[in-house]
């Protein structure tokens, strides 16, 4: 028997002229390249013409094309909002991640935007509702978060966070346009701190940072390394993202969310202390983060560059002499290298010892936390959305891939053993109410996440 579905209506949207505010930043330039690639006329807006020049060079580098900027227009805020926003179909805000700055900007935009124009913020987790508070109804009905992951041309994951006043037909249209015209991998999220990807991802990253205080940086990055289903080890990822950005994200969640794992968002004190001393990760190469590259100039042997690793307990750095080799980790890497991912995870689940136990607790914690963000009152409505954003926004194995490879029953038993909340999805799958295997996103190959 087939059920006659109500056709879902879509509001027609035009996306010809896009105005990018803050076009000189990484996200602004990345978004401008994305819109130009989809055939839009793009106006770049920055504080001065020098910054416009910089933005254009960045955009050319991203697209690997000189021609991409040919049709682009550059403006500064001094040109006045009426001029900047004339004929805009989409006003895309990508200025610094500061709530008050964005609010002030949107107040100005509200007074000058064409009535049918869409307004979007690239914010990675600030309140969409809060940013539009006190603004006109017309603004609120056309306002959404469009969160891109950095760098947007390599990570296609995109979170669409509609303002509650936006009509569902417009949300659907926006999702479709982002998917089909701009090649994005889009999920719709609720307006909750850090949205879906960063909420789940930074929970794991910060938890690993907490554990590093006791177990060491190198051990944690080895235990939760690429072999567990990610492109990069967690603490190296925090160095790449920047400690300041990491702090802003976890602090925002810790202050504004109550959930079963909220303690995992408490920034470790050693990190807070080092941030104050200017250690921001790769963007401060001399001071470093969890790691840093140091060049020694010895008289005898000449220049010698080494990697140093942080000891969180003392705040000091020491030279990394060699990679840690942990037997069960090496065995799993070897299985992954041969494409035997299921056997790799079987080995992961049965390995003995405190280290294996620690690794399992973190990975199962990820599965539990990610799938618990699904459902009424949560961040997303469908578990496929969590899978999609972790795959395309973080390059991490989606949680349901881990469940499928470990086995449903075995996953549930392990979650119970580690006292981790068993997501309703898994209980429903156990009752046969949800089809297994769970992972069902086409064209995302799970094998690519498990490094050898």
């Amino acid at each position: 028997m087939t059920t006659e579905m109500q056709p879902e209506t879509e509001t027609a949207i035009r996306l010809q002229r896009v105005v990018v505010l803050g076009a000189n930043g990484a996200m602004g330039a990345g978004a401008a390249a994305m819109f130009a690639g989809g055939g839009c006329e793009v106006t770049l807006v920055a504080r001065d013409l020098g910054k416009i020049e910089e933005a254009m060079a960045t955009i050319q580098g991203i697209a690997k094309s000189e021609r991409i900027v040919d049709g682009m227009e550059g403006m500064t805020y001094a040109d006045g909002w009426e001029t900047i926003l004339a004929d805009a179909d989409l006003i895309f805000e990508a200025v610094a991640e500061e709530f008050e700055l964005k609010r002030t900007l949107f107040q100005q935009v509200d007074g000058a935007r064409p009535p049918e124009s869409l307004v979007a913020t690239v914010s990675s987790g600030l309140s969409i509702r809060g940013m539009a508070e006190g603004l006109s109804e017309g603004f609120r009905r056309h306002f959404a978060g469009i969160h891109l992951f950095n760098p947007p041309h390599l990570l296609t994951g995109t979170e669409l966070i509609p303002h509650p006043d936006m009509e569902p037909g417009l949300v659907r249209a926006l999702k479709r346009v982002l998917t089909e015209r701009f090649g994005r991998s889009v999920i719709v999220c609720a307006d909750t701190p850090a949205f879906a990807g960063n909420r789940i991802g930074f929970k794991v990253l910060n938890e690993v940072a907490q554990l590093a205080e006791r177990h060491g940086v190198q051990l944690m990055d080895t235990l939760i390394g690429p072999y567990t289903g990610r492109a990069m080890a967690p603490l190296a990822t925090i160095d790449l993202v920047g400690w300041d950005v990491h702090q802003a994200i976890v602090d925002n969640v810790y202050a504004n969310v109550r959930d079963e794992a909220i303690d995992s968002f408490r920034l470790p004190t050693y990190m807070a202390r080092l941030v104050q001393h200017g250690h921001l990760g790769n963007k401060t190469p001399l001071l470093g983060g969890f790691y840093r590259r140091v060049t020694h100039e010895g008289r005898a042997e000449g220049k010698r560059t080494v990697t140093e690793v942080l000891d969180p307990a003392t705040g000091r750095y020491r030279e990394v002499e060699r990679e840690l080799t942990i037997p069960f980790v090496e065995q799993i890497k070897d299985l992954n290298r041969r494409g035997r991912y299921r056997e790799g995870l079987a080995r992961f689940m049965e390995a003995d010892g405190a280290e294996a136990d620690l690794a399992r607790r973190v990975i199962l914690g990820y599965v539990s936390y990610a799938l618990n963000r699904v459902g009424p009152g949560e961040v997303v409505q469908r578990y496929e959305d969590v899978d999609r954003i972790m795959a395309t926004g973080f390059n991490w194995a989606p949680p349901s891939v881990l469940v499928d490879l470990i086995g449903l029953e075995r996953t549930i038993q392990a979650l119970e053993r580690y006292d981790l909340p068993v997501p309703e999805l898994l209980r429903a799958a156990r009752r046969g109410e949800v089809q297994t295997p769970l992972f069902n996103l086409p064209f995302i190959s799970p094998g690519r996440f498990f490094a050898g």
Partner: protein, 411 residues
């Protein structure tokens, strides 16, 4: 008449992946593609009787030969299955298909697995370019030359220019169309890359000249990738259709094939074709052979073509060699939009080697899989509406080994 050979479908890996970065041995790619194909087709592994692998140069790129044996690593039920690996440069995948077809036609086996595979991102582009030079006569045409193949295919363009005239803007259009189609293909290597016709026309720091008239935008990609298809006899296809509740007449067949080899040296090819209306007459003959066997009188009976655009010049050649235009007039089909996705006879809806990617030994198998997807209306965003017959052209070397298939349903 030979036994018909049915195509049951298959699987392609994501051509954007870099398997060296994932620290994978080439057998991981074999495992993923074979398991993917088994899942996609619901073929029982124990029923697969023979396995053929198309691969160009795994010994050079990965220090691993004997790839047929790695099929057994993919599933325990494959123990004892006869396997072999086939090589004819960039046409290796098609040669593996021809071998599997011959066995089915001869009645030796009912169900064959064909894998095309290449891992290429293990070396830098200069070294990879040198490896590819072994598809030409290495000592005479490639040794000591950086990027020999772009130069050889640049000369194909020059030969067209000399005989008929050739404008680079038409080559730029070919590039832009392939990239645009690839954006609709979720497994294409370049699906997230920026490309425009203006960029393809421009020669600048981001679109450098590689050799002669060939710029970066005229080239196919260096790609890690594999494709796997299952080919079956009528008897197995009938059983398969019954079991899966399918209509046998909706399972596509390889309706025709052509396979010709020209002298390996490009100069000799040009000398040989001096008085021929076609620049590469053996390639033309491979296409005509496929048409004849498929009972196709003219190219317009096809609904789409997946051709070997290793460079824009080779697609330019394919347009007149397939007969879309008189010899030397390929530009007409480009200007009139004939070859575009919504045109009269789309070429490379998948994005081809330029857009989808070119894992050398995989390409012939990927093309037949894409032809299968078109005629079974499962090509998603790059579907050509109502496609019933799709041809492929796979070329090894500088037009040396040419293989063409017609995939679809008999009239």
């Amino acid at each position: 008449m030979a036994e018909p050979v049915y195509v049951l479908g298959g699987y392609q890996t994501d051509f954007a992946r870099n398997w060296q970065k994932e620290n994978k041995h080439i057998c991981a790619m074999v495992n993923e593609v074979v398991i993917g194909a088994l899942e996609a087709t619901a073929v029982e592994p124990k029923e697969v009787e023979v396995g053929h692998v198309g691969n160009f140069a795994a010994e050079l790129y990965t220090m691993q030969g004997h790839l047929g044996a790695f099929l057994l690593e993919a599933h325990p039920d494959f123990r004892g299955m006869p396997t072999a690996r086939h090589e004819a440069a960039c046409a290796s995948g098609s040669i593996a298909i021809l071998a599997a077809m011959a066995e089915i036609e001869a009645g030796r086996y009912e169900l064959a697995m064909v894998v095309g595979i290449e891992q290429m991102k293990t070396v830098d582009s200069a070294r990879g370019g040198d490896f590819l030079g072994t598809a030409a006569w290495y000592e005479r045409e490639a040794k000591g030359i950086s990027y020999p193949f772009p130069k050889l295919f640049g000369r194909l363009g020059d030969e067209y220019d000399r005989r008929f005239g050739l404008k680079d803007e038409h080559l730029a259009r070919i590039s832009a169309i392939n990239y645009a189609n690839a954006k609709k293909n979720p497994l294409a290597q370049t699906r997230t890359w920026y490309m425009s016709e203006e960029h393809a026309r421009s020669a600048d720091r981001f679109n450098q000249v590689i050799g002669g008239r060939i710029k970066v935008s005229d080239c196919s990609q260096v790609t890690d990738g594999a494709a796997c298809i299952f080919l079956a006899s009528r008897r197995y296809a009938e059983r398969y259709a019954r079991r899966r509740n399918l209509d046998l007449t909706r399972i596509p067949q390889i309706l025709g094939w052509g396979h010709r080899t020209a002298p390996i040296m490009l100069d000799e090819k040009f000398a040989e074709s001096r008085d021929n209306p076609y620049v590469l007459p053996h390639t033309r003959q491979a296409i005509l052979d496929a048409f004849r066997r498929a009972r196709i009188a003219e190219v317009w009976q096809l609904d789409a073509i997946e051709t070997h655009d290793c460079f824009t010049t080779s697609e330019y050649m394919a347009i007149d060699h397939f007969g879309l235009t008189p010899p030397g007039q390929s530009w007409q089909a480009i200007e009139e939009g004939v070859i575009e996705l919504d045109g009269e006879l789309p070429i490379n809806p998948s994005g081809g080697l330029i857009g989808c990617g070119h894992p050398v030994g995989c390409t012939g198998v990927r093309q037949v899989l894409d032809a299968y997807r078109q005629v079974t209306e499962t090509a998603g965003g790059y579907q050509v509406a109502g496609a019933r017959k799709v041809a492929t052209l796979n070329i090894g070397g500088s037009g040396t080994t040419s293989v063409s298939f017609v995939v679809g349903y008999p009239d």
